[in-house]
Subunit: 439 residues, 2 copies
Amino acid sequence: MATSLHYVLLLIVSAGLLDAAVLGDLVTSLPGLSFEPAWRHYSGYLNASGTKRLHYWFFESADSPSTDPVLLWMNGGPGCSSLVGLFTENGPFRVMLNGTVVYHEGSWNEIANVLYLEAPAGVGMSYSDDKYYRTNDDETASDNYLAIKDFFSKYPEYSKNSFYVTGESYGGIYVPTLSALVVRDPTINFKGMAIGNGMSNYDKNENAHVYLAYYHGLIGDSLWRDLINSCCNGTLEERCMFTLHQDRPHCKDAFNTAHHIVFEGQLNFYNVYHECRNSISLPVDKLKISMGCLDTTSVDRYLNTPEVRKAIHVPDFVPRWEVETPAVMLHYTEVYPDLSAQHREVLEAGKRIMMYNGDVDFACDFLGESWFVEDLGLELVSGRKMWYYTAQDGTTQVAGFITKYKNYDLVTVRGGGHLSPADKPFEVLQMMKNFLVGE
Amino acid sequence: MATSLHYVLLLIVSAGLLDAAVLGDLVTSLPGLSFEPAWRHYSGYLNASGTKRLHYWFFESADSPSTDPVLLWMNGGPGCSSLVGLFTENGPFRVMLNGTVVYHEGSWNEIANVLYLEAPAGVGMSYSDDKYYRTNDDETASDNYLAIKDFFSKYPEYSKNSFYVTGESYGGIYVPTLSALVVRDPTINFKGMAIGNGMSNYDKNENAHVYLAYYHGLIGDSLWRDLINSCCNGTLEERCMFTLHQDRPHCKDAFNTAHHIVFEGQLNFYNVYHECRNSISLPVDKLKISMGCLDTTSVDRYLNTPEVRKAIHVPDFVPRWEVETPAVMLHYTEVYPDLSAQHREVLEAGKRIMMYNGDVDFACDFLGESWFVEDLGLELVSGRKMWYYTAQDGTTQVAGFITKYKNYDLVTVRGGGHLSPADKPFEVLQMMKNFLVGE
């Protein structure tokens, strides 16, 4: 291993492929790694505004790094680390509880160069010297834009590749706000954006899931009737906005009851047909549970070992990694309740968009997203139909449904939850392939 | 094995526990069996009307056969074999493709004596000397009743045990029609009935699944609007009966389109989040696919080997076993479009009922059943709430939701499909335990 690595480094340097700064970010060995990657990956920092330094982890494509697109991936929150995406969703690494890192088939770097960015500053291993982490949607987008600029100046050989901004959940806000900045920059070869189970409009999302709760059997006939009577004037409406009638006491009570059933913590609202890991009867200090029912114990342990931090070039003064950073979450100002303007701006520049939703998620549900896209009033290219993927046993299976508008794909992932690349890796990889080749 | 079996037989006969006829039905060895059961099981025939002989397979309880209840189990169709229940749902046996029979944890005979009945005559290994298999709901109920009478006369020691009639799917008709006869017979210690994903009312079932299709993302906004406009006078109604407006051409077209998407065979409508085994790319003659996407290849092969037929006492003249028998299916007359009267008769006799639904089934969905139960106008005992089970990892998880009316439990099984004992064996076993102890 040492010899071959030495050889690779020599090759890289002698070929003049990398400058010294980038070579310093190259991850040359990773504790616990059980396989030898056929691709390079880099971990380090990108400059944002002021003293903010955003941690990134960049994976070259396993296929054709020089011609494959560059995909930026951002998890949501606000305040969640994108390394959750790397280690549990679309990245090539999975960490076992004993610290062994195994290869994950279905990683997006099978088809693209993937850049994981921990943002805003204060999240994960990103930091600012002034430790000021009070921020908002606009500043976050602006800092992410600066970090992307810094990335392409560090890796100029990738600036000719197609560039896509992707992410999920609160990424429904990060992705379009950043894309609206990137699209104005002619030096970036921006092609479009993809959002998974995103927050695109608070009202639509919050109200759609009440319908889904009833029609998935989470709330019953009696509560449903209460909701209709007290919030919707006694008639079932196609889009009753339960949340807009909270001044009516009965409506408020009924809505809160429904909300409590779905989100009280006993059901896994990220995937209503999965178990809830919160129920695990282990001592609390032994377990890192976060983001609803997700168990990130192994990732948390791994990323906080001194050896791993050193291997990924994290300075000693950076605080311990957390999947969610309260310092950011609690002081974050949400600016945009609806992202239509940003979606339109991307489309008007002739770029492409994909909105995909794992269809059993109640956090950011497919129905609210579908309402959001419908209200954009786009030109329909082909009506809703099934799309397919090849399962591990070689059979062709229905992966979900797709509606194609002009430059805009609205896609569901059958049986996927909030983190659909985690639940349905092969379906989602196929979907990304389809999107990238424009299918 | 031979020695211990001989010893067991000696014990049984010497203790005078069984008469000669029953002893002839005792299954003393089963090809491929990979474990030695701690309980006895019997396979043979029960007399119905005329020359009809219904095949049964009876499993003594692994717990306390003499005091545990006797549960009759019937699969649906009409024309499906109850051995599907035995070998893929709630029975103790699972057959591998190589013919090995392994033990299935979560079998209902862990808590009860379970009687699998192949009915009506013509189904599976049941037959009639006259080979006349044209029948209907009433005759089937009457023949099943005669078979039950014959069972208790063959096994008088079980006639003091509590007796429950259970089944699924078209069992939603078999179970209450049989129960309505059994409840009038004071010699049978009948306690109640349980129906899983049953057909209780055709109209409610057929129309409820249109709502579910939209709110599970199987049909999209555009088709949904077509359905509402053409079938429901342009307003979303709580229970629009799409099927009752088929005289309106647009409504008919829209309904057929929706129906086609759900049931066209590419989606597994028995569990919309499972793969569809129909897609398997194997030569058709090597594979026994039936009942939607269910793969019963191994069971079909196993039950048609001469050794197995001999071991379970099936005469040579009985045709080969099929999971569904066209001769029965195609000539069956459905008499009851609604089973309210039978449910009421059982309740009025003071007996108990459980209706349970795996909640991701589109064949007989939870919503139509919920409407059916609501319309019975029962006295509510406790409102809809979560019920729980202990998962294999020791955690407590939400197994579904339960509404309790007087002597009537309406239950969902979270993530269970049409065959929820197959999808969720431990949840369903817990649910049956709860029902049997009256919880």
